[in-house]
């Protein structure tokens, strides 16, 4: 247990196929205890499948590893007691009230005082006065909050959150993340999948997976540095510029960002040669900058598509 005290999730070579289609391929990862680990990648990249393997909802075709020190293949029942899993789709009972849902969860985990635990959680979630409201009648943001409350109720050691903030407004999203940081500060390990770049940047570590392959992992800065991507930000008269630049040698990616355009490539020399004709133009302003996380991911996604599809 000495090593696993530091590491919450340690898996190697996870592979899972559905109907002959490999959804997760040879995936290995380590998550430190008390850290917030962001899981990023396009839709259908295997994020949900990986999370389900970690909490014992799916058995991998091959691979091994531990979750909280327990074997993911043999000790699924023990893992379930210490893991809170928040599904992508709201999965509390819509026709039970806030309080009834929480009490149900508390009883399933065998908490000594289920009513008391539910009452405390309602207070903590700021749902006082709404405890008798049906869960199905809550707004999207409150539903997410309640779902988070339900999975933290039994004091888990690991939280698995599958796109917890999809479709939630920015204010609720920020509150949600403050809550996650508070929980992690209390020693909880959090694995969270997301599509939002600002959320990725709030994680201690991130992993990017596409088409079942883990393509990059580390801290945000490490992932950006490892991408070896050079980005120019162009502002000014952009009419048609994106179309003209796309596909030129050295230009791997052209992405509009509001009134500016990000032009990126891994081969700096080729990139600069290709953009040279436009740099002369007076109505355009070119600025060499570090790529954003989004640039890195979109470039990774584009590259992995070529490799695997």
């Amino acid at each position: 247990m000495s090593v696993s005290n530091e590491i919450a999730i340690d898996v190697k070579g996870l592979t899972k196929s559905f109907g002959g289609r490999e959804v997760v391929h040879d995936l290995s990862m380590q998550v430190k205890r008390g850290s917030i680990y962001g899981f990023l990648g396009p839709n259908g990249s295997g994020k949900t499948t990986t999370i389900r393997i970690l909490c014992g909802l799916l058995t991998p075709d091959s691979g091994e590893g531990t979750c909280l020190g327990y074997d993911i293949l043999k000790d699924a029942e023990k893992i379930k007691r210490k893991v809170g899993y928040m599904t992508q789709r709201f999965s509390l009972y819509q026709d039970l009230s806030v309080r009834e849902n929480l009490e149900f969860v508390a009883r399933l985990y065998g908490l000594a005082d289920a009513r008391g635990a539910a009452r405390d959680m309602i207070k903590r979630l700021g749902l006082s006065g709404r405890e008798e409201q049906l869960a199905g009648e809550l707004s999207g943001g409150w539903k997410q909050r309640l779902a988070l409350g339900a999975c933290t109720l039994p004091n888990p050691e690991l939280l698995l959150l599958d796109e917890p903030t999809a479709g939630v407004d920015p204010k609720a999203r920020r509150d949600f993340w403050n809550e996650i940081h508070a929980l992690a500060a209390g020693g909880l390990t959090v694995l969270v999948s997301t599509h939002y770049m600002d959320e990725a940047e709030r994680c201690h570590e991130i992993a990017y997976i596409a088409y079942g392959h883990l393509l990059a992992h580390g801290t945000v800065d490490e992932v950006i540095a490892k991408s070896a991507l050079t980005t120019y930000t162009v502002t000014g008269e952009l009419n048609g510029l994106a179309a003209q630049l796309a596909g030129k040698p050295g230009i791997d990616m052209v992405a509009p960002f509001g009134t500016s355009l990000h032009v990126s490539g891994r081969d700096v020399a080729a990139l600069e040669a290709s953009i040279a004709p436009w740099r002369e133009k007076g109505d355009l302003h070119w600025l060499k900058s570090a790529p954003s996380l989004e640039d890195v991911f979109i470039e990774l996604m584009g590259r992995s598509k070529d490799n695997f599809q």
Partner: protein, 387 residues
Amino acid sequence: MSSIRTTGPVREIRDRFGFWRRSYAMMAKEFIQLRRDRVSFAMIVAIPVMQLLLFGYAINTTPHHLPSAVLLQEDSDLARSVLKALENTAYFRFVYEVHDVDEFDNLLKSGKVLFGVEIPRGFERAVRRGDKPALLVAADATDPVAASSALGALGMIVQTALAHDLYIGDPPAMPFEIRAHARYNPAAESRLNIVPGLVGTILTMTMLIFTALSVTREIERGTMESLLSMPIKPVEVMIGKIVPYILVGFIQAFLIVNIGVFLFGVPVLGSLFLLAALSTLFIAANLAIGYTFSTIAQNQLQAIQMSFMFFLPSILLSGFMFPFAGMPAWAQYVGECLPLTHYIRIVRAIMLKGASMPNLRFDTLALAALMLVAMTIAVTRFRRTLD
């Protein structure tokens, strides 16, 4: 994003057929969905064909070869001829030969036989003396349909029996008489038969549906995923889903029995406590079967179809609508696998015959066995993972 819009807005003129166009779109969508749901598609063919063939061959309202017992207090040639004559009517099939009145009564009470023929001691001698002794034929008339045609045939028996034993004397003068005794329901009132049967039929219908939807509903609403990620075992899920409905079923049974007694005047001759206990067992067995369906079905529609496929044979092959003993052997075997068959025997026996536990041992054990089989299938079928 102009590349996505390839055609312009729908031209105004096409909207003249808007009603048909939209209805067609809806129809096409329904057909596609129906085709994708293989189970439903199979049911469309299976329900009419299978049920029609099954019941067309199984159901017989003028049953023959009904199980009968003989209480033989005298083993004479004449007695044997009478029994032979009874069998020759094709209505009776003697499966038990007993020498004790209690045994004879118990066979009728437990429903093992529908008829009992009593040949009294000194029968042959009395006939020879011209005493016109009586031959008792006791019928279980809880099901008037099953009993009536056989009882109607009794009149000819004396003649037939005599044809074999011409030496007895002058045929026109009846040498003995047959006294038919319709037990339990002497007035042949069909409601006495129907009401106890309805207790079981109504319970089957409601209980099956309650649990048949329970697991599929969790899957369709997405709550199953988080339920599976929590520390609860399949047996615990099953118990939690079945027990509340036992209470519901119990209330229903209570209502039906009370209406039967107070509105339709059906008696409860046996123990109310025994009726309640065995009803609970029956309710649990049906809930377990419904729950099993819900672990097999992929969606709620399939679960309902499965319940229906189970409910129809339950009504037709259990002895509720048509005499059980009149069905061919294969249909009786199917019937024995249905909880309703056993429960209907139990309710009729307790309410109309005043039967007690020793008479009902077989059907009670059968109910318990069916329940355990269903529960075992359900627990093994219940998927702990989403694989």
